[in-house]
Symmetry: C2
Subunit: 211 residues, 2 copies
């Protein structure tokens, strides 16, 4: 019916498993993943174009000036941005594009793309989230408390998302996120052209039968 | 998160395969199907309680008086209605309930149950619909033209449905309808209580870690 792709924004609490869910979504279903641009230095093992598009500050600022990002933000000293061209080309070709971004960026996306689907990934409960953060084993209590504080603050933004999906079992969660995106493409408001065409065709075919 | 079931209304053009889609949905996934009540005489092979709840006109009118239906209608000389108790009990128990009803009934449902999900099943195009109607082999051109006229009129009601799903390949269609219903249960607006609880829990856990 409608051929344009769906723009999907995935956010979620730190520790909820966003990265794994997104990775599995892309492997199991056909989604295009937007790779962010950043001015921070590549970490060991990171590949330019796969993990990030690494840019100098000058390049990045130039891209901002040329409206090259659909959203960008500065954290500490580094810039992060979502390249406009990739996203718009993919949507135009009918591909569904996933952006894994923070709450603030998500709100910017929704302003520019009202049809974007905002999904917030959450845990069954706070205790599970704490356990997952502790399970990483790399962070001390203070860091975990800081992440939980951030999560606490993010609960205020959750109502702005279209859907909440709980990541309890990974495979189920991936299928549920996929179902949400699939459903979105069936919304009647996206198929006005199809309805119009159907109406015309039905009129013609009926005339033909009766003639 | 939320335990209440989803009320699903399925309508669609005559010949589109509604009955088969609903049958497959119930077999493949766990849905409760609401069986309508009617005053028309049982046809050969029809079983009371499975195909319809067969009622006398007096019984039916009495049920109307006691608000026993969530919607009812009279076609020609017969009454048809959706029993309120079954639907509400199932929803209360967290089961998703499917109603296969006509456009007018669907609108009555939406008024009473704003959370109901209205799905309209359609064909890839009008020609396919004509072929399916002809394929039944039991109906002459005039009857088919009448059904196509009805379909033509129904296109005006399609925008009132939440979702349009094309029945091209049966298995795909069944999975798509299921995805729509699944997605509906993840809508953020249905999980205000969960968000509130998560916020409280996060606050407590963080306090505990820092103490």
């Amino acid at each position: 019916m409608n051929k344009k792709g769906v723009l999907i924004v995935i956010s979620g609490f730190s520790g909820v498993g966003k990265g794994t869910v997104v990775k599995n979504l892309i492997e199991k279903y056909q989604y295009s993943l937007s790779v962010s641009a950043t001015t921070r230095a590549p970490r060991s093992g990171e590949v330019d174009g796969r993990d990030y598009h690494f840019k100098t500050v000058e390049e990045f600022q130039n891209l901002i000036d040329y409206n090259g990002f659909i959203e960008w933000a500065q954290y500490v000293e580094n810039y992060y941005g979502t390249p406009r061209k990739y996203v718009e080309d993919e949507l135009e070709q009918g591909h569904n594009v996933i952006l894994e971004i923070e709450v603030q960026g998500a709100m910017h996306i929704k302003e520019q793309y009202p049809d974007a689907v905002l999904i917030f990934l959450t845990a069954p409960n706070a205790e599970t989230l704490r356990q997952r953060l502790e399970g990483r084993g790399t962070e001390d209590a203070k860091v975990i408390a800081k992440r939980l504080k951030r999560a606490y603050e993010e609960t205020d933004d959750m109502p702005q998302y279209d859907y909440l999906v709980v990541n309890d079992d990974l495979d189920i969660c991936v299928d549920e996120v996929h179902a949400v995106i699939l459903a979105e493409s069936f919304k009647t408001e996206k198929h006005k052209q199809y309805i119009k065409k159907m109406k015309e065709e039905l009129f013609e075919i009926r005339k033909e039968i009766l003639s």
